[in-house]
């Protein structure tokens, strides 16, 4: 009764809000879902602030000393002394930004040097650096595949790949995740004479699973398609020289375009494409996401170049990162969690949550334990899953991984997931 008296206006207020339809009305469902989550008393999983960053693996998050297990800092390069020194020098000598496009006033010595470092890292003829990894996919896919051409892509592709498809004018044909037969059938049915681009990823970032590139690329080549592989989550870590899954599976020579990023193992921001195609350089003039944006700041390309060169000699770090991934995967499995892959395939270990509500509760319980992981949910995730995505770093010590497992055990029992 008293509730009724204290809220006489509530229904009218709600009616008024609902009746005021404008361009934002399409977001009402997600606004409602988010408000319901926060009303449950959860800390906002998508509004975390790192007040201090102590190292590649530790930060002060929302006031707590926290182990970072949800960054893409796989090789721990962000605080490397040589990398930081290179950035400082470039900042002092070349200023804070280029204020211009790569094709006008935005190509400095540093941009050339980082492209040279990439050519050496991948042993390829050409390298083109974009301002972000997102723009690299956006630019290459939308430019290379034009009207009348076909882009055949995995349904679980990253948003930047899908957006590259949307930006371009090609016919877009998806196939079931990692399904060789589905890929083959689609390629076979494409009309004779049409240009074909097959877009794959080395490591799929949501579940951390690896693509059967060897088989897929063989199918693509049999049907005369060019192949683009996004190796964002494998660079520096997978393959004998850290060149990615295509190198690991012995088919890097068959790949026409490798897309990568500086925002993961390299430890800064930026994206790139490397290729052996003899006409590759023309893309600098015709690729709009390359031309119509400012180039990376000098300090960023200087840190990237230094980091890429150091990653060429990172075999010990790679070995330790694999140990971490195997231990975390095995430990979580033993505790009774459901993981995205049966065995560790990359530096990503995805823990599958029963639903968003318990996923958010588990995320918060881990944060209170002093552990940060990524809460991933639809539409970023496949099949409507809610995931707690753990990404390991070569700088996590073996002891830290044990600490992390203890945190998962306590949080998982508290929330009732294990």
């Amino acid at each position: 009764m008293s509730e009724g008296i204290s809220q006489p206006d509530a229904p009218i207020e709600a009616d008024r809000a609902a009746s005021e339809k404008d361009l934002f009305s399409k977001f009402d469902d997600i606004i409602g879902q988010r408000e319901a989550l926060l009303a449950g008393g959860f800390e906002d999983p998508f509004n975390l602030v790192m007040e201090k960053v102590l190292s590649p693996t530790r930060a002060i998050c929302n006031g707590r000393d926290t182990i970072l297990l949800g960054t893409y800092n796989y090789m721990g390069m962000t605080f490397d002394p040589d990398v930081i020194e290179a950035g400082k020098q470039a900042l002092e000598q070349f200023g804070s930004g280029t204020t211009g496009s790569r094709v006008l006033n935005g190509t400095y010595q540093g941009h050339r040097e980082v492209e040279q470092a990439l050519r050496e890292f991948y042993a390829m003829d050409h390298a083109m650096v974009f301002s972000t990894g997102y723009q690299a996919n956006l630019g290459i896919i939308s430019t290379v595949a034009g009207k009348g051409d076909y882009v055949v892509l995995d349904i679980d592709s990253h948003a930047s790949i899908w957006d590259g498809c949307s930006l371009g004018n090609a016919e877009i044909v998806p196939f079931r995740h990692n399904d060789l037969d589905a890929l083959e059938k689609r390629l076979r049915r494409i009309p004779e004479g049409a240009g074909k681009l097959v877009v794959l990823e080395g490591v799929y970032s949501m579940l951390g699973d690896v693509a059967p590139l060897k088989e897929m690329i063989a199918i693509a080549k049999k049907h005369g398609a060019m192949v683009l592989v996004d190796e964002a989550h494998s660079m520096g870590f997978i393959g004998p020289n850290g060149r990615g899954v295509a190198e690991e599976q012995g088919v890097i020579g068959e790949v026409d375009f490798i897309i990568g990023t500086f925002s993961k193992s390299v430890g800064t921001v930026g994206g790139f494409c490397v290729s052996n195609h003899p006409k590759f350089e023309i893309l600098r003039l015709v690729c709009r996401p390359y031309v119509f944006t400012a180039s990376l700041p000098p300090s960023v390309v200087a840190t990237a170049a230094t980091s890429v060169r150091k990653l060429m000699h990172g075999s010990n770090k790679r070995a330790h990162l694999w140990e971490n991934s195997k231990r975390l995967h095995g430990g979580l499995t033993a505790l009774g969690f459901t993981l995205g892959t049966q065995e560790p395939q990359s530096a990503i270990v995805a823990v599958i949550m029963p639903d968003l509500e318990r996923g958010a509760a588990m995320w918060e319980a881990l944060l209170h334990e002093g552990l940060y992981v990524n809460l991933a949910r639809p539409p970023a995730t496949p099949a409507g899953m809610t995931l707690l995505r753990c990404s390991l770093c070569a700088e996590h010590s073996a002891e830290e991984v044990e600490t992390i497992l203890g945190m998962f055990e306590r949080a998982g029992k508290a929330v009732g997931i294990i």
């Binding site: 044909v173 059938k185 049915r189 009309p191």
Partner: protein, 80 residues
């Protein structure tokens, strides 16, 4: 293959995806009436592509909102 035969074949293919047993008419919409999400669309499109040995790109799918439009599109693609 005439429109009636295409219609009959697609009607069979749609059954496992029509979980609520919605009555299928030419005006039935995939997103609204049948509540297909993106994964269901992919599987359903793959089933049709396999049945008729055709390819329906996402660009073409964007133009297909109703069952009748799908039958028409398959007839057209078969003619090619």
């Amino acid at each position: 293959m005439d429109r009636a035969e295409v219609d009959e074949r697609i009607r069979k293919l749609i059954e496992p995806f029509n979980k609520k047993g919605v009555a299928i008419e030419d005006g039935t919409t995939f997103a609204g009436d049948l509540e297909f999400d993106s994964l269901t669309v992919m599987d359903f499109v793959a089933a049709i592509e396999d049945e008729f040995d055709i390819i329906i790109s996402m660009n073409q799918q964007a133009e297909i909102e109703t069952y009748g439009q799908l039958v028409d599109a398959v007839c057209r693609l078969q003619g090619n």
